[in-house]
Point group: C2
Amino acid sequence: MAKKGMTYADAGVDIEAGDRMVDLIKRHMQRSYGPRVLGKHGAFAGMFRLDYNERLFKRNYTDPVLVSCADGVGTKVLMAIEMGVHDTVGQDLVAMNVNDMIVQGAEPLFFLDYIGTSKCDPKWMADIVKGVADGCQLAGCALLGGETAEMPDVYGDGEYDLAGFAVGVVELKKIIDGTRVERGDVILGLASSGVHSNGYTLVRRIVTAAKLKLDTVYPELDTDRTLGRVLLEPTRIYVKPVMQMLRSYKVKKVVSGMAHITGGGIVGNLNRALPDDCNAKISRDAWDVPPVFDFLATRGNVDQDEMDRVFNCGIGYTLIVRPDFAESVKRQLEKAGETIYTLGKVTAGSGKVTWG
Amino acid sequence: MAKKGMTYADAGVDIEAGDRMVDLIKRHMQRSYGPRVLGKHGAFAGMFRLDYNERLFKRNYTDPVLVSCADGVGTKVLMAIEMGVHDTVGQDLVAMNVNDMIVQGAEPLFFLDYIGTSKCDPKWMADIVKGVADGCQLAGCALLGGETAEMPDVYGDGEYDLAGFAVGVVELKKIIDGTRVERGDVILGLASSGVHSNGYTLVRRIVTAAKLKLDTVYPELDTDRTLGRVLLEPTRIYVKPVMQMLRSYKVKKVVSGMAHITGGGIVGNLNRALPDDCNAKISRDAWDVPPVFDFLATRGNVDQDEMDRVFNCGIGYTLIVRPDFAESVKRQLEKAGETIYTLGKVTAGSGKVTWG
């Protein structure tokens, strides 16, 4: 018998399991397809029609600007792995990208994901992509493609990392970039659904240091859900309420700036929407900090300053609006199901967020 | 003295090193910018103008279709890490994506990258992004954005993974999808620059099993370069020669199908460009297999079949063209600096690649 040569499978890469996985994830991807998605599954690249056929594309663009961003969900993946729950981090991945994109006033068109992992377990991968497809449906965009890379020498056994990428479009004249922010503008905050997808390296350190258990219900945190479930709560996707509200003002430019509150907290993100001569003065009493943040601060002995810099602390998205329209913007967003807080005002300053 | 609270830096995440890195990579990104890139560095999302202003956008689209794909470079990153050379894998990352995209006839517009790593060493990260920017310049697209995620609990010390995303555009009527491939069409192959970015898990197993040294020059492989340098040779980017050639045929549809030869080799990729009733009959003698593949097969005791399924074996990109135009396509691509082989012909069949 001839000596068997070295194969790719010997080296730890299972091409057939990959093929099974592709079949499993196809139906999740197709859930998110609209008539603008072209071509068949398995092509070298995904195709999305950007045309002016009114039946397909109701909102016409005179001077379309493509808007794009890339992001991951950080070590929230490790929380998912520890919990054995893989079908929610996909929504986080979409949220981190599309919430960034709408800041500039852009409508998300499509999304692609990258999963790097030790071994393509078809069930896990399909669960992850299910979450991504859920997120795409919530954001109204198509899951146009993706890549799953089996790299047993890079990722620890049963571990993975996720990266996502979103493309959207905005009319050139309707780009929101904060340059129109002025003194007196009102700052509105949209409630977050929890920790969202930032600060999980610290969260996990706190869990370990304070000997917390992910499968335990802590009544001061939540009367029903375990700590793990509270921490895995998917990141809220603000696309539909925000885009609907923006579109309702056909002529007036009512919103002068927006910010998605991610790593860096309110202090490190709202400042990105401010001109150099303005501050955002925020009142700490303006909103209810959800129990999860007090729980983490107390159990982990984390200073207020550090909490502010790492977590969203209950506010996932902020809008800066003209004072005359603050109430109507608020009402519209509330009607769409959001919880809105009036956080403060824009004052003269130097591009910073101040507490007052 | 008050007890110091737990911080994000204690948890292994260095936000300030991240800021230094952003400054370092900014100039690499800006090298790739053209007049269609809008907005400032540091915005929530990158912006790319897709308009019809002829000065900015010479090639007008009547019915533009956006084409997008996601890919990584697999465990070639581990080869880069072992060699301590981080400024070439970025080109591989761009190549893996843009070579996929041109298969459908699309012109790459912009690119975004994701780097997941244990620790954001500003020098390493800047080197990686330098390679990405080099690749973007070779492909004629803008490096519009990206994300660097510091995840000490996911990635081993000094390790990282790369994911890339590309967006391009093609005129609806000019999409190439293989449906027009017919019997008698000629198959052309473009030489690869080496192993490109697939099969590195197997390559690394061979290096270990055969006790090869990355810092050694093996004369049967290369008279100057070490094994490591040969294996790190960046993936060739075929965008400019292929797009230039396609554009030169303004009316006639000369190219009926194309395929980027990645994981799966010629057998597993050229078939993706074939209709169900055609085969691609390829002659093994048609091209010169570069020494690196014979070296890997011999030292690793890898069967021919397995070599065919894992590596490009010297052909990085294939075109299926009408027989009357095969010579003129070949001449154009040669003029643009490519090495072209006539690999075989399309025959009646069942959507497979056959050797003959």
